[in-house]
Structure formats: structure tokens, C-alpha cells
Symmetry: D2
Subunit: 445 residues, 4 copies
């Protein structure tokens, strides 16, 4: 079974194939270094939060920080240690139940909306669990035979990418939880932004045609991609244009002031129903104060910066804004084709400070494609032609979520550095607003 699992992980994770003449020790050293770095970064993210903060769960879609700490360890426990390290056992067998997120192949899961009610195991016990898992993985990486290492390496790599996704969720979930508190508490210190002249909006044309998108088969382990990013395939694009930067708070404010939230004709039918039902009048976290518009951030309440990308929009709001602008959302193929040549630079979650989108810096071409805010596309999250989910538990990673969600591209200020790429497909239901999600306009050319 462990072989099947390993093969499934390869399928799900599309890790690089170790080239024939690779130096095994270097591979181990590199994976080991990455393991230490990713695990340490998770701990650093949680560090400024109290045990009480780390227990908060403010909605069913979000999870407590402590749960993220445990679940990212559970992943190594269940997929790596339990099948591959004889004698391994978690501190309590109930952990396998408590910290399973949604892997039905691994048995039932604790009631998701009640994760915030698990005061015990305590934070200290969860940290001890993390330590035990780390110690065991280190031992396994060191002592494994070459054959065994070849089996576990893709699983460990997958586990690290998985953990990076949860690093982002730690940010977005604690932001939501603290936003409920009328004291507007800060989780992290504010970042410093150098003032700059606003970048005017321009559309840049692209010719389209028969182009290829999707992650290609990896040539090396560094070329990791998720299974949902492939197979690489041809799509036919009409000529189109993309805005040079994401929509800003100032531009979105004009939509609000023009009555955008009260104008049915701008909205998709489901979006309009949501606006009525939920009484939506502005992006999540915006607040109308006596001193003008403010927004709740991970550093507490802050004045709204008109030049920063608008953030915490749902898909319907992004789509309505595009209609209002006489434009549309890009498709994910258009976005990826445009981004294909660009280096993955941007404002990411490099340190636990300044987790907030920043205004575009002056420049040519497509700015802020990566980092700052995820960009909603007009594409439903569906399998690419030829996609097949891997068998077994690892196969539940991506495939089973391919309905009812829309694709977002590019990463945000909450995304760990090095985690995204041009082919990366993030996905959320259209109503989700607690991610750092904004938009970039597109047009038919």
C-alpha cells in the first residue's frame, strides 16, 4: 500500500522526476533543508498569537491556528510516518480522527464547525506533537534506504506544499476571527509602505491563438506542481487585453458611490440574490467610520489606501465591478498565457509582518500578476482535458472539489514566497471573501 500511496502522491503532486544521474545526498539535503524551513515558518507565524487566539474559529470554513498546526503534522503522520516508520504512533490515536480535514479514505472526521471547541489537546500538546512528528521525519529521511527514500520524498514534498497552503489559511482565518472582536486587535505588526504616485490603469493587448497552458511534466524536483495544474494542453484564445494592474480601492469606491451594490443589472442573478440576502454594501472588512473609510487588517484597523488593490471581494462583486467597468474577468487560460513569461516576483508572505496588499510600483507591462491579491477569473474550477484524480486518499487532495468553485490566480500577500507559479490554480466558492482576493480587468480586443 505504501507504494500505491507513493505513486498516488506522484500523480497528485506531479513532483519532478529525479534525473538518472542525480546525486542522492544532495537531494536528501535539499529536501531536508526545505522541510526545516517550512516547518519553522509555520511555527513563526503562530508565535505571536496566544493560546486563546489559536483556538478561535469564527466560521465553519475557517479553522483555529492550533488546528492548522496539528493538521499539517497529521499529514506527515498519516501519509509518511504511519506507513513508512515502523513503531511510529501519534501521542493519542484520537489525533488521527481529530486532525483529519476531509480525507474520507482515512475515516470519519470530527465535525468541522466545532474545531474551535477542542481546548484539549492544549496548544502545548499540539506543539509537542509537531516536535515528535518532525523528529520522526528527520530520522526517516536520514535512515531511509534509497528505495524507501524514493517513495517518501514525493510525499514529503507534497506535505510541505500542503503546509504552505495552511500557512496562508492561518493568516486568513485568524484575520476573520479577530475581525469579530470589537476591540479590533492586531495579530501582527503593520508593514511599512513607501509612498508613490498611483499607476494609471491601462489595457495591454495580447494576440491569443492556439496556445498551451497547464503545468508540463516536471524535469526536476524543483518543478513541483499539483495534479490539477495538468495535463498541459492546447486552448484556442481570441485576441484579448488585460489591465496592467489589479483594480484599486479607489476604483472600487467609485463603484460603491455610483450605486453599484444597488444596481441589479450589473450582477449575476446569484450575486444579486446574495447582495439582497446578506445586505452587502462593501468588501469584507471595510468599515465606514466618522473619519472616512477604514479596513480591518492583520495589524488592526487602518485607513483605506485608495491606491492599494481592492481586496476581500467575492466573485460576484468582482464580476459586477467588471460589468460596471464595461469589461469582464479574464479566463484562467488568458491569465496564464499572459503570465507565462513573467518571473514570479511580488509581495508575498515572506515574513510575518505587512500581510496586506500594497499599491503597484510604477512600471511597464503587467504589474502585480504575482502577490498582493489573488485575482478572480471567469473560469469555473473544472478538470483540464485528460485529468484523472489519483487513487486513494491523496487523490482527494484536489479532484473532488471540482464543482461550484471559481479559479483565482497569482497568489497574494498571504501566500508564502515560492509557493505559486503561472500554472497554479487556486479555487474558492463565489461567495468566499475572507481570502485576499481582488481582480484584474480583461476585455475582448
Amino acid at each position: 500500500m505504501s507504494t500505491a500511496m507513493s505513486r498516488a502522491a506522484s500523480a497528485a503532486a506531479r513532483p519532478g522526476v529525479t534525473p538518472p544521474g542525480a546525486e542522492p545526498d544532495a537531494v536528501r539535503a535539499s529536501l531536508s533543508a526545505r522541510f526545516e524551513a517550512v516547518r519553522a515558518f509555520t511555527a513563526a507565524l503562530a508565535e505571536p498569537l496566544s493560546a486563546e487566539d489559536q483556538l478561535l474559529q469564527s466560521m465553519a470554513d475557517a479553522s483555529p491556528t492550533k488546528w492548522h498546526l496539528a493538521h499539517t503534522s497529521w499529514f506527515f503522520d498519516v501519509f509518511v510516518l504511519t506507513p513508512h516508520l515502523p513503531g511510529w504512533a501519534p501521542p493519542d490515536p484520537a489525533f488521527h480522527y481529530l486532525y483529519n480535514s476531509y480525507y474520507n479514505a482515512h475515516g470519519p472526521q470530527f465535525h468541522r464547525p466545532s474545531r474551535g471547541l477542542i481546548s484539549r489537546p492544549s496548544l502545548a500538546e499540539v506543539r509537542a506533537y509537531r516536535g515528535a512528528v518532525e523528529e520522526a521525519v528527520r530520522r526517516l529521511m536520514t535512515e531511509a534506504s534509497g528505495a524507501r527514500f524514493a517513495e517518501i520524498a514525493p510525499l514529503i514534498a507534497l506535505g510541505l506544499h500542503h503546509e504552505q497552503q495552511h500557512q496562508e489559511l492561518i493568516c486568513t482565518d485568524i484575520k476573520h476571527a479577530l475581525s469579530v472582536n470589537p476591540l479590533d486587535p492586531a495579530a501582527y505588526p503593520a508593514g511599512r509602505t513607501a509612498p508613490a504616485a498611483p499607476v494609471p490603469l491601462r489595457f495591454l493587448g495580447l494576440p491569443g491563438g492556439l496556445v498551451e497552458i497547464g503545468a508540463r511534466a516536471a524535469a526536476s524536483p524543483a518543478d513541483f506542481s499539483y495534479d490539477n495544474e495538468g495535463p498541459r494542453h492546447a486552448v484556442m484564445l481570441r485576441p484579448y487585453a488585460l489591465a496592467n494592474r489589479p483594480v484599486t480601492n479607489g476604483e472600487f469606491l467609485a463603484f460603491i458611490e455610483a450605486g453599484g451594490y444597488e444596481t441589479a443589472s450589473l450582477w449575476l442573478s446569484d450575486g444579486w440574490a446574495e447582495v439582497q440576502r446578506e445586505g452587502r454594501r462593501h468588501p469584507l472588512y471595510w468599515r465606514r467610520t466618522e473619519a472616512g473609510w477604514a479596513e480591518f487588517t492583520l495589524a488592526g484597523l487602518a485607513t483605506l489606501d485608495p491606491d492599494a488593490p481592492v481586496c476581500h471581494l467575492g466573485f460576484y462583486e468582482a464580476d459586477a465591478f467588471a460589468s460596471f467597468s464595461g469589461a469582464r474577468l479574464p479566463t484562467e487560460a488568458e491569465w496564464e498565457h499572459a503570465a507565462a513569461g513573467t518571473s514570479v516576483d511580488g509581495h508575498f508572505l515572506s515574513r510575518p509582518e505587512g500581510i496586506h496588499p500594497r499599491p503597484a510600483a510604477p512600471g511597464e507591462g503587467l504589474l502585480q500578476l504575482f502577490g498582493d491579491v489573488w485575482e478572480w477569473t471567469g473560469s469555473a474550477y473544472l478538470p483540464y482535458p485528460g485529468y484523472r484524480a489519483a487513487p486513494g486518499a491523496v487523490g482527494e487532495y484536489n479532484g473532488k472539489f471540482m464543482s461550484g468553485q471559481m479559479v483565482l490566480r497569482g497568489g497574494a500577500c498571504s501566500t508564502p514566497e515560492g509557493h505559486v507559479r503561472a500554472s497554479y490554480r487556486n479555487f474558492f466558492p463565489p461567495s468566499a471573501r475572507w481570502q485576499f482576493s481582488g481582480l484584474r480587468l480583461a476585455r475582448d480586443a
Copy 2:
């Protein structure tokens, strides 16, 4: 404004362009004949139902027959008569509010889930409204100048296609309403089916490649299509195979008996949640009786025919069955490309009897592409490249529903004859099961 509306209708409905040398009288005669035929068929569908039956509304998504009778008249009232026939007024101004479905540009709408509470206007008054509208449309068609007729003709054509959609909804909505009644009442007489040998399932390969789909610009008025069927555009298809016929009740029963509804790994995540939440264990209308499986039909309770296409599935059930079969759902492009050459023949709603899918008749090639059951595809209902909704109320016809729904193709035994075509895009949310919806399997070749 009437000109804008007319232009919008042209855009929304993509009617045929009247060729330069067309004979106007023949065009009027043809439209008039079609008007009489469609209106009479609606009345004939409602005829066997009592005034009490016609008031039933068993869920928010369905409407009373009487409401359909009124709303299909409202459409001509509001889009054709009010702007184009001086002196026209409905029997009561409140009708414009009561019988508006979802056109925000025409003002607020009566609370949709309460349509079944409108005992007054009575059925007799609604019939009188129908008569008054018909009389006025006849007069307008006869007396309109050539220029005026050119304006109203596409609106009337759209109104008739619209009415045909509501003919189908009359069938599906009354079926749902009567299914709640423990007496299992019949709405229509049962059809007769000649027994035949079952048709074995086979897959037929198609080469794919860069193909065109979507409705092309119409060359004549007979070439009507909805705006959402265009623009015609190129898509790249991999080689694929389609099953020669839809999945049958017998095949679906095997899925049930193999524990399909209890096997999480076969289901999309949202589908699995729905199965748990709703306690789904079989298609809508199936009943386990002491004498074996039965299903509620428009002719009352009937024994389940193992050779007839399975019907009243939601998208998640269709998708889970495909997974169970080691296959998948076709994309709408694959379906349309395969159907492009086929003549639109099949078991449609030709008369108000026998509104139930029938087993495939023996034959070569792709059987039952049209009629019998709508076929769920794996495609989300999204705009085609270059699509723009028309401005104004008519523009609300299709575009605003382009989120959260999946495409179905091919028409059903509840679809009026002559209503569908290869490019026709029907769409429903994945949980909808009260349409005559089944599936055809597909595979990568």
C-alpha cells in the same frame, strides 16, 4: 425605447436576418401560424388539469401551471404590446407585477415561493388574459407597418421560444407537485411503448481536433437560436469517445446495489455532502415498493423499466455514476461536436401523452441524442468567448444566470418538438433533479 428593446431582442435571440428579397406576407403568415400553434399547445397542455391542480407550487423553483399560463402572456404583454400597441392595457395593472418572473428592469417581482398562493386572479381570469393578449397580438401582427413588423417580429419569435420553455416547465413542475400527493395522481394518460430488445452499451470514438461549436449567425428566421449559444467559436478537443446511448435504469440500479450512494470516493465533495444531508439513495421519483422498484410518472406510479434511460438525476449523481463506470461526463463541446451532423429527431413532447423517456430503439451510431432525457455535461454554464448580454430587460434572459449551473444538452420527452438543436444550451444547478435529466458516458480515447 421600443427600438432599443427590439435590437436587444435581436441580440438576445439571434433570430434569422430577413434576407433582402424576402416576401413580407409569407413571413407574417409563417410567424402567425407559429404563434397560433404554440399558444394552442400551451392551452392543450393545461387542459387536463383542474383549477386546483393548476394552482399547485410544491417548491420555490417550480411554478403553478396557472402562473405559466399568465407569465407566457405577460411576456407578449410587456415586450410586444405595451411598447407597440397604443391603447393596450392588461386587465389589471397588478399583472405586470404578479407575472414578472425575474426581469429586474421591469420592476420588482412578487415573492417567487408564494406563487401558489395567488388564487385570484382565477384560472378563468388568467385564460381571459391569455385571450386578450392573443387577440391584441393578432391585431398587431396584421396591422403593423413593415417597419413596425420588423421590430416586433423578433420579439414575438423570442416570446414563442420562451413559451416553449415554459411548456416544458409546466410538465416538470406539475410532476413534482403531484408527486407530493400520497394518492399518486396522474396528470396525463400513459404512452404506449412497443417492447424491444435492449441496446447494448458501446463507445464510439471521435477524433477531436480544432473544431467549431456554437450557433452561427442565422441566415433565415427559421434559424433561431438564443444569444447564449453564440458566438460560434473554435475549441480544441482531444480524441474522445461517447456512449451510443444514455445510461439506463438498469445500469443505474447496479450502481445503487453496488453501494454507490454510500461510497464517498465516487462523489464530488459537494455531492457527497448533499447525499449525506438529504439522505439521497436513488433518483428523484423512484420508490422502493413491495413489488420492486417503481417510479412516479405523469401517468401515476409505474413499474421501473430497466431499459429506459435513467431520469431525474442531479449532476452529482450523474458524475458519481460516471466515476463508478470508469468514465466521465462529456463536455458540452464534445457533445455538440458529436451531435452536429445528426438530425433533431427523437421522443419529444409532441402530444400531451406519454411524457416519459422510452428505451432506445435498436440502431447504429449515437442513439437518443435528442429527446427522452436531457444529458448532464461536465461543463459549467459560462459565456462563450465574445459573448455579451444584450442591454435592457431582454438581456436578462440568459446572461445573468451564468454562474453556479451546469450545461445539459439534447432535450427530453418533456421538450416541445422543434425547440432544441445541437447548439442548444440548457442549464440547471447541480442539485436540480426535477427536470427530465439523465446522462451519457464519455471517455478519453
Copy 3:
């Protein structure tokens, strides 16, 4: 079993004991006359309503008129005919299921909120059911032996009182259903009210002391009372005062204008929560129009009469108004003790017209104790000391509802003439507002 049922009916209904020397024929004739009168009145109430009207069910607590017609026949069918008339059978055995309201001892019941979905049996079929039941009851009353008659007489008497309760519900339920219709349709013609000078509010003192309330054991069949009205028992009352008439619309308007619905301190905690949750700002059926306050009545929309008793209040609104007035609601013992000597005169449902409360006519003493509006008391609906519900299905009539409801006294303009008495206990949950419910103020003396 029929004997047990009969005994249970006696217990539940507390009918008069036939005195030793009663003339049997006269008893039969009297019961028979009453049977004909009550049944005919039900039919007359339904007569002005169309088959469509009679199918309406606008909330789970209300039922369609047609259902009331059937259920009041079901009562005789199941409690009288089935056990006592050999060979009797309803038109369809499903009627026993369809038209059972809440008698668990008679098996499961059709889903209550879906009663409005039973288009078949048609109204004509339900009328035929009524006719068949009536014919059979007539035959049974005529042909029964003396012993058999003694068994069925209390059941028939109970059935007639039961039917009178449903006559009231026909009025209140159709009023609610038609109120949803934006056309404001009328069910019945308006009554005529002679203008008169308003009656000033005065408080009349009563001494209290150790008094008896509750229905006493009946001395004759005419002394019918429900089981929940007894046993008669002593209660200790402090000196108190009652208002000479119910609170008027004009007085309630002053409460509204003084911000009563916005003042938390006037409300019980549950009532305040309800006001917030439901956005209550006035009694049910009141409407603020451009021409001033109006209210929906069974004769359509009407101008609010400031001198008529305020109606369609929930308990919480009645209680809040009393607090606002520096008064309180009377207890049911206080009310009954005050009413004990008064003759049961008032504005009742004598004919199907004028079903609307009328201003008090000038007079001395406690006015409008009976008729016009039910009066909320401050008493929870609980068993009297020594009360025991009868065994079997008839025992479900009253006893099982003795939680979560408040007592109302005195009958209303919707109550059939001859149905109420001083000891009569009506009961509804505090949130119910669709009955003709108002209040009379009380004070400690």
C-alpha cells in the same frame, strides 16, 4: 373499544348527563337539528370561496378551507361511523391518513405544511365525502338502539363543537391566505356599522377572595364544555380591576407613535427578541398607506377604525401594551370570575358577513366580554388541579397542548354563535397573531 372511545369522549367533552327521565326522541331530535345546522353553516362559510381559494395554505399553522371541510367530516368518519356503523367506509382509505390532523392514536398524519398541495381529492370530491358522512350519521342517529345512541351522542356532540372550532379557523386561515395576495381580495362582504360615540376607558373594581372557576359537571346535554375547562376548583384572588372594554385601535396607535415597538423595557425578553427578529412595527394586517393607516380584512382593505378593538396582536404585543399603560393582562381566573354572571352576548360569527370587530356600544359594566376579539390573558395554558386527559385518541383533543401556550378568553367576531362560554379556554402560542386576538387591561386594586 367503541365503548372506551365513547367514555373517553364523555371525559374529554364533559357533555351533559342525560337526566334520568329525559325523553329520548326529543334528545335525538335536538341533536339532529344541531347536526344539520352546524354542518350547513360550515358549507355556507365555504360557499363564497372558489375551489382555488379553498386550496390555499399560507403557513404551516393554517390549513386550506377544503382541508377543514374534509377534516370535520373525518372526525365523524373515524370517531362515530367507523366504530359504530357496520359497512361504513370512506370513499378512499387514504382519507383516514390525509385528513387526520394530529391524532397519533389514529396513525401517522400527512405532512402538515403540505396540506395546500392536495389538489386531489378535488373540492367536488370532498363535498361528496361530506355528503356521504352526513347521510351515514343521519342514518345512524335514526336507526341506533337506545344503548348505541347513548354511546354515539357525546361523540357527535363533540364533533359538532369541534366543527365550530374549525369554522373559526376557516375564517382566520383564509384571511391570512388572502392577505398575501397583493390584490387585497375580499372573501366576504363588509358588514355595516352604525356610527356611535367612542366609549371612554374605565376600570371596574372587583373584590377577589376565594372564588370558584371552571366548568361544573353538566346537568344537561346543553351544558357542554371541553375537558380542559374543568374540574371546577377554588382559586384565591386578590382585589383587582378590569377595563370596561378592550383596548382600541386608537389606543394602540398611541403606543406605536410613542415608540412602543422600539422600547425594550416594555417587552418580555422573548417578545423583544421577536420584535427584532421579525421587524414587527404594528399588528398583523395593519398597513401604512398614503391615506393613513389601513388594515386588511375579510372584506378587503379598509380604513382603520380608531374606536374598534385592536385585533391580531400576539401575546407579547398585548403584554407590552399593558406595561406601557401601567397595567397588566388579567389572569384567566380574574377574567372568568368577572364574566361569570354575564350573558354570552356579543358580535359573533352569526352570518358570513361582517367578520370584523366593531366598536363598543355605549353601556355600563364590562362591555364586549364576549365576541369581537379574543382577549389574551397572563395565564399559561396548563391543566387545572385534578385534570386528567381522557385515554385514547379523543384524549389528544386538549391535554397534549398544555405547554408553551397562553390562554385567551371570550370569543371573537370569528367565533360561531353559541360556541363559547365564561369557562371556555382558548389557547395559542405567544407569537400567534392570525386569530382575532386583542386584549383588555387589568390592574391590582
Copy 4:
């Protein structure tokens, strides 16, 4: 205003009147000693719980321990210190909003179901708030003039009784919260119970008659009672009998095994609906394990003791059990009259251990009237004749809850020693089960 508040507190709390010749210093010393004892006991109850435990809120009706710690301090802050101690201010003005429970006169309240989301202020900060409040109250008690002290003394006394109620809620709320955790954690050590022979059930007759109940005007400060316990008044009781002890687990098990939860005729209508809707099959916290029946306790999972009083029943279950037993619940007047002469001894919350009902010890008369389990009565929680709620915020203490709730009597193992008395009226909605609530049977004699 402070005088009005003080008078209101007197009215709400019915404290003892200081007798003319009372020694002021002794009164201060006594109140001060009581203040120290109650506050210290609250801290001791919270002590074994971690900061994470103290943040748990598992349902809207329950609150986090930390919130209880803060709210019991808020009471002194807002009712005593703010009006009476110049210069006093809480650590953060937001505390007045965050820790207000339901006093509308003190402004809006933080969303009750979200109390578990307030990670900040931290537990340490809340403890500091407690300390600051205690220090200030001590200072005020010491330094207040005689007149000032006479004003604040009843408010402080009320605050201490209030705090004792929250001590009980700390127990019941943390029990509910920990019961959700699949690890079955213990909050407190288990108590030790000496085995004893079970006490057979007997009924003891009481003559009834015109008796007095309710708290009388207090003769000394030690005679504290809440406003809802008065006025003392006469009620007429029929002869009745009470069981010598509460119903036991073993007796309730017999009800379960006899199909009590499946027998509609035993239940009030609302109770039966609840049983169906919630799927109730046993008391809250009972679990069917492979080793037999167990129950979750504050000391973790424990074997069910058949001789201990059944606990964590809702009113409907208590009532259904009484019906099953051919008995009924006592009225609160019957209970109080029977208990009037008994000394208030029993198993109370004397120490933070053994918070679990214990079997009756052998004895004569009415056993376990006080302590172990609250006993549901058949009386709705309504005002006594002549009751008027005090004006202002303190008047919200009891009066506004007088609807929709049932009275419980006698205190439980979770009730602080010295808190209850014969006239004490506890009240909860009929569905509430997380209190230590059981029942004692009654009968008409």
C-alpha cells in the same frame, strides 16, 4: 440616579431590612466577609481550567468561563462602582459593552453566540479586571459613609447572589463544552460516594388547603430573596402526594426500555415534536457504550449509577416520565409548601469536586429536596399576584423572563451552598437540558 438604582435593587432583590438597632460595623464586616468568600470561590472554580478551556462556548445559551469571570465583575463595576466610586473606570470602556449580558438599559450587548470568539482581553487581563474591581469594592465598602453604605449594601448583596448563579453556570457551561470533545476530558476530580442500599420509592401525602407561599418581607439582611419569589400570597391546594425522593437513573432506564421515547401518547405535543426533530432517545450526556450505559460527567466518562437521581432531563422528558408512571409533576406551590419546614441541607457545590448527583441516603420523609438535582415542576414561570418588576436596569433581572419557561425547585449539586431556599424559583425553557435537572413525582391524593 444612584438612589433610584439602589431602590430598584432593594425591590429586585428583597434584601433584609436593617433592623433599627443594628451594629453598622458588624454589618460591614459580614458583607465584606461574604464578598471575599464568594469572589474567592469563583476564582477557585475557574482555577483548574486552562485559558483555552475558559474560552469555550459550545452553544448560544452557554458562555465561556472567562466571560463569567468578567461579567460577574462587570455587575459590580456597572451597578456599584460606576455610580458610587468617583474616579472609577474599567481597564477599557469596551468592557461595559463586551460583558453586559442582557441589560438593555445599559446599552447594546455584544452578540451573545460569539462570546467564545473574544480571545482578547486575555484571561490574564480578565483576572486583572477582577482584581481591580475587588480592590475598588473593598475600598468603597471601607470608606463609604453610612448613607452611602446603605445604598450600596443591597447592590453588593445582589451582586453576590448574582455571582453564585454564575458559579453554577460555570459548571453547567463547561460541562457542555467539554462534552463535545471526543476525548471526554475531565474538568474536576471525581467525588467519592459510599455505597448504600437503594431507597425504595414511596409517596407521602399532604393535606393541601389554603396555604401561603412566596418569600415574606425580610427581617434581616440574611433573609435575602429575589423579587420573583414574592409577594407572599395564599394559594388553594387540593390534597396531594409527593414522592419521597427524585426519580433515579434506574427508573428512567425502565422508561427507555419500555419504549418511552417512541410512545407519542406519553408526551406533550411540543415534546413529541422535539423528540422527533432532535432524535432524542435518552437524557443529555448519556451514552450507550459496549460496556453498558455511561454518562459524561465533569470528571469525564463514568458508568451510570442506577441509584443516583436521573439528571439532565428537559421538561418534556420529565413530564413524559411522569405520565408513564401514572403520576404528574408537582406544581411549584405544592413543592414549596411541602419543603417549607425542611432545613436546606443537601449535596451542593461546596467544593470544586464531586459535581455530580448522588444516590439518596436512607431516611424518612422527603429526601433530597435540596441539592443533587433541580426538580422540574408543572408550573410556568409567571409573576406572582401583585408582582411588579423594579424600574431600571436591575428590574431586568427577573421579570422580563416571565414567559415560555418552567419553574424548577430545590437546587442541585452544581448550586453553591447557601444559595437556594424553599421559595427559590429557578426557571428554564422546557427544552433546556444542560442544567442538573431531574424530577420528583407527584399525585393527586
